[in-house]
Each structure stands twice: as structure tokens, then as C-alpha cells.
């Protein structure tokens, strides 16, 4: 018996990727009955599903974000352990994106599809590394799906930051970093580079840093970047590193910082015009997504004859994958955010 074609049992619906023989979605973009969630970023993990299966870490992150959701049936999955939902077996594998992030292997009558969610291939001290899983169809995003996106070594970017801190001792370096994943990775990278001073946090980052610590990720001395006197910059932040969500820096909150060097940690910082538009003074090209070379390398590694691309620079990735003799198809899904965690 030949295996069914993947497009015969997985479909793109307005609610997201729907797996018919199991009657569930993967990373639905709105509340549904049953969902398998790859990771805790808000565009992948939404509130209000009746039943959720994900890694224990992802469930914990969702609880921090959305509260307990007592009505919801939750199932924690260990990486590599198989779960049957209807006529589909579901297995999670690490995606290397953020704490608890997973790829979802879906098997149905011998047909294997991997939904990778968001992933990266670089070493990251705050989460388990990506594992390539051979499959018939590999479902990938393409946020950085253009050959201009090639992330440099994150150690060089951290060195750039520390060099700037040394050069401008009377200023404060404030790094725009998303609350889940990027913030903790930045802290861990700074610690690896030997920065052992306290790192100051905007309030919105505190809970998730606590959660990372509870999962055994060492982040060193973290302190709240609370206001001093209203509207008066805090002189004791001079020479220090402060982390905040990007939106807070441009906001009134930013005024407590003494003459800040505004930094932003994101793969988008590779393109100068983008960094300039955002008023960034020190761009740090540090991303939790695969860059162009890694997208192509991953397709080779999983050796899938067919690739589906959920969102991003789809046409370029389709073009490049097709040139290697594989089939590639753009799903053009809406509802995924290209900024968070980028």
C-alpha cells in the first residue's frame, strides 16, 4: 500500500494548519478545539483552545502568558515520545528556537510530515539544539528567506556590544529584546562573554526570566530597572546594560535611562535601513531563526522531497529549493508575526 499524499490529510485553513485524520491544528492562529503547539511565542501559542498538547516548558510559558486556563485539557509531551491523536501519531523533537520549542512529526499511514514551527541551527545556551528529522514533507517558515540574511557569529556581536559599553562609560546600553527567548539568550551570551555585572530588566521581562531559571538556565545577577525619581534618569545605570522589550524603549519608560545607546538584537538588524528606521544606534545581529544558508542546509539535512513554506520570503526560498530538484510550495499563511523572536 502506498502512503497517502500529505496534501490529502493536511490542509491550510483560515484557522491554520489542520490535520484532518486527527481533528487537530498545529499552531492555530485562533482558538480551536484541539491544538498541538510548537513553542510559546504569542503568534504560535494562542489562548482559548479546548485541548493543548506541547512540551512541558511551552505549557509553562503559556501559563505565564495567559494564566492557568482551568477549562483547558493540557498534555505535556516529552521530546521523542509518541502520542496518538485519532489516526495520527504525533512526536515532538527539539527546534532550537526558544526554551521548550519543538518540531512536530506527524505520521499517518506511512506518510511523514514535519512541522518545524520556528527553529534555528546555532548553539544556544538556553535551549536544546535542533534535531533534523527525515520526512516526506518539511514545513518551514522563511522569515529570513533571502540570501542577504546570513547571521554572523553571535560572539562577535556580543563583543561589539561590550566594546561599546567600554567606549561610552557615561551612557547606558539598553537592548531591545523580545521577552521570550531573545532576552534570556542575550543574558546567557553576555555571561558566556564574561559580563558578570548585574543586568537590569524592564518589568515585562521578569516573569519569563524567572521561568527560565526555574528550568535550570543560569542567568546570573538580574535586577529590576525600576524608576528612580519620576522622569529623572538614573545615574547608577551609567555603564550598565539594561534589557527591555523594543516597544518600551521608545516609550516614556526610556526616560529613566541616562543618554541611552539604543541597541536591538534581531536578525533584521542585518539590513541597515531597517535598523536606522527603528532608531537603533547599535544593531546586534542575533536571531532565533534560521538564516538563508541554514534554511537550505536544513532542507538538505531532513532530505525531504517536498517543502512547504508557511510565511516569510516564500518566493525566494521556493526558487532556491526548486533549483536543487525538490518540490517547494508557498502556503502563504497569515497570522504569524515576523518581528517577535526574529
Amino acid at each position: 500500500m502506498t502512503a497517502p499524499k500529505p496534501e490529502s490529510w493536511i490542509e491550510v485553513r483560515p484557522t491554520g494548519l489542520y490535520v484532518r485524520p486527527g481533528d487537530f491544528h498545529v499552531d492555530p492562529t485562533r482558538a480551536v478545539g484541539r491544538a498541538v503547539i510548537t513553542h510559546g511565542h504569542a503568534d504560535h501559542a494562542r489562548a482559548g483552545h479546548a485541548a493543548v498538547a506541547a512540551t512541558a516548558e511551552t505549557l509553562a510559558i503559556m501559563a505565564v502568558r495567559y494564566g492557568a486556563e482551568p477549562e483547558q485539557a493540557k498534555q505535556a509531551l516529552l521530546p521523542g515520545a509518541m502520542l496518538s491523536i485519532g489516526d495520527v501519531s504525533v512526536t515532538l523533537y527539539p527546534a532550537g528556537h526558544v526554551l521548550g520549542s519543538a518540531q512536530v512529526l506527524l505520521e499517518h499511514k506511512g506518510s511523514r510530515v514535519v512541522v518545524s514551527g520556528d527553529y534555528k541551527r546555532r548553539q544556544d545556551p538556553t535551549c536544546a539544539p535542533f534535531e533534523p528529522v527525515p520526512c516526506d514533507v518539511f514545513v518551514t517558515e522563511a522569515t529570513f528567506g533571502l540570501p542577504v540574511f546570513r547571521h554572523p557569529d553571535d560572539r562577535d556581536e556580543i563583543a561589539k556590544l561590550l566594546n561599546s559599553v567600554r567606549m561610552f562609560p557615561d551612557r547606558c546600553h539598553v537592548i531591545g529584546a523580545y521577552a521570550l527567548g531573545k532576552a534570556q539568550r542575550m543574558i546567557a551570551l553576555l555571561r558566556e562573554a564574561g559580563w558578570d555585572r548585574p543586568i537590569y530588566l524592564h518589568g515585562a521581562l521578569q516573569n519569563l526570566c524567572d521561568l527560565y531559571r526555574a528550568h535550570g538556565v543560569d542567568l546570573g545577577d538580574l535586577r529590576p530597572a525600576t524608576a528612580g525619581q519620576k522622569g529623572v534618569p538614573r545615574d547608577d545605570f551609567k555603564g550598565e546594560i539594561v534589557l527591555a522589550p523594543p516597544s518600551a524603549i521608545a516609550d516614556r519608560w526610556g526616560r529613566r535611562l541616562p543618554d541611552p545607546v539604543v541597541c536591538m538584537a534581531s536578525g533584521w538588524m542585518r539590513v541597515r535601513q531597517r535598523a536606522k528606521q527603528r532608531g537603533v544606534e547599535l544593531p546586534l545581529i542575533i536571531s532565533d531563526h534560521a538564516d538563508w544558508d541554514e534554511l537550505l542546509q536544513t532542507v538538505e539535512d531532513v532530505d525531504a522531497p517536498e517543502v512547504w513554506i508557511t510565511h516569510g520570503r516564500e518566493e525566494a526560498l521556493v526558487h532556491a529549493i526548486t533549483a536543487t530538484g525538490r518540490r517547494a510550495r508557498a502556503l502563504s499563511m497569515v497570522g504569524y508575526d515576523e518581528e517577535e523572536g526574529a
Partner: protein, 527 residues
């Protein structure tokens, strides 16, 4: 190349002048000789590579990259040099980066046809930042927001020297400025200026504040008109003549009509103007000839340049700067009678009995091509910079207009969390619909106190209509009284007019926006 690439990569994002100075000074500490001198030349606009154009760069990229992917990438990035730098396939290479001096030497020594291959070889060696910096450097125009003047200020900061000392030497030196660095580092003698038409740092005036007028000893001062052109210095020595702006930029190439007839030796201070049949034309006409590398015959005819002389610093090779103004003035008149330079005259002294008469003259001068009066102490030597108490500029009161706030943009550095750059407009009836609309007439980012700024920022946040990146469009609900020096026609602006030196004079929280001024009011003020 590495320190230089890192420098450019920081400068392009750095808005604050002080931070730029710190970054450039750090570069002079990090980079070796003669690389740092070539870096200085690049920052001051003194490097020009002829063999490499945008087309060369595109051609190189096309040999290495899928053209379809390149086209999509270029669409996304929006800059050819940057797209090429980012997309260039990386090879693991242990070769050392070329130094800046190697880049200069090899490219200037190469045939035009050899250049692409040399550049491709470097691109294979460098990383993305290095490739970007190299392509910016060799295709011309770094555009990192650093003027020649700022680069020299940074050099002074590096060596703990006075900018005026560097300025004085600058035009007698050539890249890679090895003797200059040696002197600044204390490893060599001061470079000699013999036989070179160098720039001599200019003496500048203080604005005369309202409160100072009464206490002024009028009899000690000479008055002249403050002509509305640009301050220049003509420097001629050893058969060469240069025309410098007051900051020492060589602007002579665009003004052959002034320079071609110079036969004297000396250094003169004056105002560059457009003068037709003895009449000084509005600043706007001079503007047509500024910021150009070359000039056409038609421009020379339509906007003939002229220099009105204020002062003499050197007569022949005799340094007159220590003499009193009144003595220099005699020397200037004597020089003018003797040399009779073409397209120049001597600025008139304005006779006055007392300050009241001078005040009346100043006020009645609106509509002439002057900005007000200059007051110079008769006994003042010619001192570089802006010394206190010697020279004053006494400008006419500004014009004002009640405008409506339209857009606000976030500032930089200390102001990065404030909406501090304001675009304002005046009412007119729309050419399409006939309905009243506000059309932008200018932009200002100063004139208000920190306290005002807090209120403005809050108002902007509370009355936002749309957001475009760092810019917010606001409701037409706040009147700003704007002061400006003059207004002229400008086809580049939607309103057809542009203000000179606009600043916010008052925030009219009290005034209904419907009562703000109309565009026609502004048009009537065009001189």
C-alpha cells in the same frame, strides 16, 4: 580595513555629534599609519576612485549570485553596495584583510580594466561589514553623517589639540597626513605652511542679546551691514588661490568667476554673494550655486558670484591678524586700491551717531539683502573662533507665523523617547477640492524648553492619527508660533515656499487652530 569598516558601521547609526567624535578619535587610536591617514582622507571627502562605478559592482555580483535572488534581495535592501556586501558568497579564508593603504595604492595604480578583479578578490577576503565599507569607500560618498569639519574636530579631540591648529595646517597637507599625525603624536615637527594657500581659521561674531545693547560702548565699535550670503576666505600664495567656507571647506571649484582673476597674494575675509549690476540678489539665488562640484556657463551667467570684502588677514605674506581692526581696515582699503581685484568690493562702513540711530537703520533694512548689522570693536585683533566682546551680529527681529502642528518625529540620543522634531503647516484652500487644508511649510526641532518638550510630547501621544515608523501624524489641533529669518520660493516643497532657520517661538495652547495663518500670508513675506 577592519577598524575603518567598524568605524563606518557605527557612524552610520550614531546621531550624536559627541559620540561621533568619540568614535572617530578611537579609530585614530586603533588604526595604524598610514591607514588612519587614508581613513581621515575618506572622512573629509579627499579620496576619489575613478575606476569603480555602481555598474562594476553589479557586474561582479551577477557573476557570483543567482540574478533572480539578487533582484529580490536588492528590492528588499534598497541599496546596491549593501545588497552586494550582504549577498556575496562567503568562503572560509584565512587571508588577512587588505589595509586601507593597500586599497588606495592598488586601485590608484591599476588600469581601469583590472579594477573589477582586484575588488572581487578583496570581497572574497572580507566579511559583510568589510565588504560594505569597501564598496562605500570605492564607489564614492560614504554618507555616514560626518562632515570634513567634524572629522577634524575628532582629530583634535584625539590629540588633545585645538581644532583651529589643525584647520590652519589642513590645506597645506595631503593624504595620508603622516607628518600631521607624527606632529600630533609628538613624534615630529609642526608641518610647514610655506608657499601654500592655506585656510586661516575665521573670526566669528556673537549674537547681540537684547540685554547687552544698553551697556555697549557704541563709540568703540564700527558698524557694517551683515550681508546675507556665505562667509568665505580667499587665500592666495605661491601662484595658487583657494576659496574656503568659514569652516575651511574648499568651495573654489564652483566659483571660477571669482578665482580666475586673482593676481594678488594674500588672505581676505568676505561675504560670497550673487551680484548683478551692482545689486545684491537674494540668498536663494546664491543657493543655486552652492554644494556643486562644478558649474555650467549658464549658471555663471545667470547667478554671477561676487565677494564683498570685510577684512584682510595677510597682505602679501605679511600677517596682519594681530593688528587692530581699524588698522586692518586701512590696509584693506589700501590693498583694494592697489590690487583692484575683479568681482570684489569693500564692505561699506555704516556711519551712526548713537545706538538709537543704528537701531532705526537695522529695522528699516528689511527687504534689502542684509540680515542686520555687524558691530566690530575698533581695537579687535583677528582672533580665530568666537572670542567674547569683540564682534557682534545684530540681526533684525525674526518674522513669525502661527502654524498648525502636523507631524512629530522622535529625536535622537537624550531625546530618543520624546517627539521632538515638528513639522507644521499653514492653511490654504486645496487646489483639488477647494476645501481648506493644512499644507506643510517647515520643520523645527528647537526653540522650546525641556518643560515645553514634555508637554508637546504628551500632546503628540494623545492626539495621534497615524504612525509611520518614528513619525506620528497628529490631529490639526495645536498652534505653534514659528519664528524664521526669511522665506523664499522652493519648488521642492509642496507649499512652494521654504523658511530659513525656522524655530518654535511659542506654543499657542490657547489659540484655536482655525485661526492659524494662511499660506498666502507667508507668501507675502517672500523677499
Amino acid at each position: 580595513m577592519k577598524p575603518f569598516a567598524a568605524l563606518l558601521d557605527r557612524l552610520i547609526y550614531t546621531p550624536s555629534r559627541n559620540a561621533k567624535v568619540a568614535l572617530i578619535a578611537e579609530y585614530f587610536r586603533q588604526a595604524p599609519d598610514p591607514d588612519r591617514g587614508w581613513g581621515l582622507a575618506a572622512l573629509t571627502g579627499g579620496l576619489d576612485f575613478k575606476g569603480v562605478k555602481a555598474g562594476t559592482v553589479r557586474g561582479l555580483a551577477m557573476e557570483r549570485v543567482d540574478p533572480t535572488l539578487f533582484a529580490w534581495s536588492y528590492d528588499f535592501v534598497g541599496d546596491l553596495a549593501e545588497t552586494t556586501a550582504l549577498i556575496w558568497p562567503e568562503r572560509l579564508s584565512n587571508r588577512a584583510w587588505p589595509g586601507l593603504s593597500e586599497v588606495v595604492d592598488r586601485l590608484s595604480g591599476a588600469q581601469r580594466s583590472e579594477a573589477p578583479e582586484i575588488v572581487a578578490d578583496w570581497l572574497d577576503t572580507l566579511d559583510a561589514t568589510g565588504r560594505w565599507a569597501l564598496l562605500k569607500l570605492i564607489t564614492g560618498g560614504l554618507r555616514v553623517g560626518v562632515s570634513a569639519r567634524l572629522a577634524k574636530v575628532a582629530l583634535a579631540a584625539y590629540a588633545d589639540a585645538e581644532p583651529a591648529e589643525i584647520e590652519e595646517l589642513w590645506h597645506g597637507l595631503e593624504p595620508p597626513y603622516t607628518e600631521l599625525f607624527a606632529w600630533l603624536d609628538g613624534d615630529g615637527p609642526r608641518p610647514s605652511l610655506e608657499d601654500k594657500p592655506v585656510f586661516r581659521p575665521a573670526m566669528l561674531a556673537h549674537p547681540l542679546e537684547e540685554g547687552e545693547i544698553a551697556g555697549l560702548d557704541a563709540a568703540a565699535y564700527v558698524a557694517e551691514w551683515k550681508w546675507d550670503g556665505i562667509r568665505v576666505q580667499i587665500s592666495s600664495r605661491g601662484g595658487e588661490t583657494r576659496l574656503y567656507s568659514r569652516t575651511g571647506d574648499d568651495i573654489g571649484r564652483a566659483f571660477p568667476d571669482v578665482l580666475d582673476h586673482v593676481t594678488f597674494e594674500g588672505v581676505l575675509d568676505g561675504e560670497l554673494l550673487v551680484v548683478i549690476e551692482g545689486e545684491v540678489r537674494p540668498f536663494n539665488e546664491l543657493q543655486q550655486r552652492l554644494n556643486r562640484k562644478t558649474v555650467t556657463g549658464a549658471m555663471l551667467k545667470k547667478y554671477p558670484a561676487f565677494v564683498r570684502l570685510y577684512d584682510i588677514l595677510f597682505d602679501g605674506r605679511e600677517d596682519l591678524r594681530a593688528l587692530a581692526f581699524s588698522e586692518r581696515r586701512n590696509r584693506l582699503e589700501g590693498f583694494y586700491a592697489r590690487a583692484a581685484p575683479r568681482r570684489m568690493d569693500v564692505s561699506q562702513v555704516v556711519e551712526f551717531r548713537d545706538l538709537a540711530e543704528l537701531e532705526a537703520l537695522r529695522v528699516s533694512s528689511r527687504g534689502t539683502a542684509t540680515e542686520g548689522l555687524m558691530l566690530k570693536r575698533q581695537d579687535s585683533p583677528y582672533v580665530a573662533g568666537r572670542p567674547k566682546g569683540l564682534w557682534y551680529k545684530w540681526k533684525r527681529g525674526p518674522l513669525t507665523l502661527d502654524t498648525v502642528l502636523m507631524y512629530a518625529q522622535r529625536g535622537h540620543g537624550k531625546r530618543s523617547s520624546f517627539y521632538s522634531d515638528f513639522t507644521f503647516g499653514a492653511w490654504r484652500s486645496s487646489p483639488e477640492t477647494g476645501e481648506d487644508e493644512v499644507v506643510p511649510v517647515g520643520k523645527a526641532y528647537f526653540g522650546f524648553t525641556d518643560e515645553d518638550l514634555k508637554h508637546l510630547d504628551k500632546w503628540v501621544r494623545d492626539h495621534t492619527l497615524h504612525r509611520y515608523g518614528p513619525v506620528r501624524e497628529v490631529e490639526r489641533g495645536l498652534v505653534l508660533e514659528v519664528a524664521f529669518d526669511s522665506v523664499h520660493r522652493s519648488p521642492r516643497h509642496k507649499s512652494g515656499v521654504a523658511m530659513r532657520f525656522p524655530r518654535i517661538a511659542r506654543i499657542r495652547w490657547d489659540k484655536p487652530p482655525g485661526e492659524a495663518d494662511r499660506l498666502e500670508t507667508l507668501e507675502r513675506l517672500i523677499e
